[in-house]
């Protein structure tokens, strides 16, 4: 009796969406660190799709852009407190 799971309020969970599909963004610029910052965590690692909601098609592009930005020292490979 005491070990009852609390019911999940389904209505409160917002459905995730791909921001690129929604906003019609077709190209992700690797020269823009402020934008790419949304897709990496504090350590500078790429965030998974399940957290950002990005579709597979654009996740590939995001990861490519982040990796390019790292190469030309616009984003760090490793960091401690990016945000």
């Amino acid at each position: 009796m005491t070990l009852m799971n609390e019911p999940i309020k389904r209505a409160e969970i917002k459905p995730k969406y791909c921001r690129f599909k929604k906003n019609g963004i077709k190209y992700i610029d690797y020269k823009d660190p402020d934008f790419l910052l949304k897709f990496i965590n504090e350590q500078g690692k790429l965030l998974p799709r399940r957290l950002t909601g990005t579709s597979w098609k654009f996740q590939k592009k995001v990861s490519q852009a982040v990796k390019r930005a790292r190469h030309i020292a616009i984003l760090p490979y490793v960091a401690d407190s990016l945000k």
Binding site: K26, D29, K31, D32, A73, P76
Partner: protein, 127 residues
């Protein structure tokens, strides 16, 4: 005919004039091989996200060009490797979306001054 974009970082030890000359040298490599240089951008002395060759800043430069010969990329990158003042370089092929994006970027539609305040530039662009 393909569109390319190349970014390279020059040593901050160089003077402004020397940096300018080096950029011109690479642009000349492109024009000599009959590539169309569309845009040359000098971002100036910028802080890098991590040190390269024990330096924390560098002169960033961007060159956009179109060419039909893929051999030119090899030539250009050999030049980069020969020049000791180049700390890092990267050449990328642009797809059709990137070409459109770069055109708008050149016109200043994305407002580069806003960038420093950290506003979400891409979201502005859609409207």
């Amino acid at each position: 005919m393909k569109n390319y974009e190349t970014v390279f970082i020059l040593n901050p030890v160089l003077s402004e004039d020397q940096a300018k000359d080096t950029v011109e040298k690479f642009v000349k490599v492109l024009t000599k091989a009959k590539a169309d240089v569309i845009n040359v951008e000098k971002w100036g002395l910028k802080k890098m996200a991590y040190p390269i060759q024990n330096k924390s800043t560098g002169f960033y430069n961007l060159v956009e060009f179109t060419t039909t010969s893929s051999d030119l990329i090899n030539q250009l990158e050999t030049e980069y490797r020969r020049d000791e003042s180049v700390m890092r370089f990267m050449t990328t092929v642009l797809d059709k979306h990137a070409v459109i994006y770069n055109e708008r970027r050149r016109k200043g539609e994305f407002n580069r001054t806003k960038k420093s305040t950290g506003s979400p530039r891409k979201e502005d662009a859609k409207s």
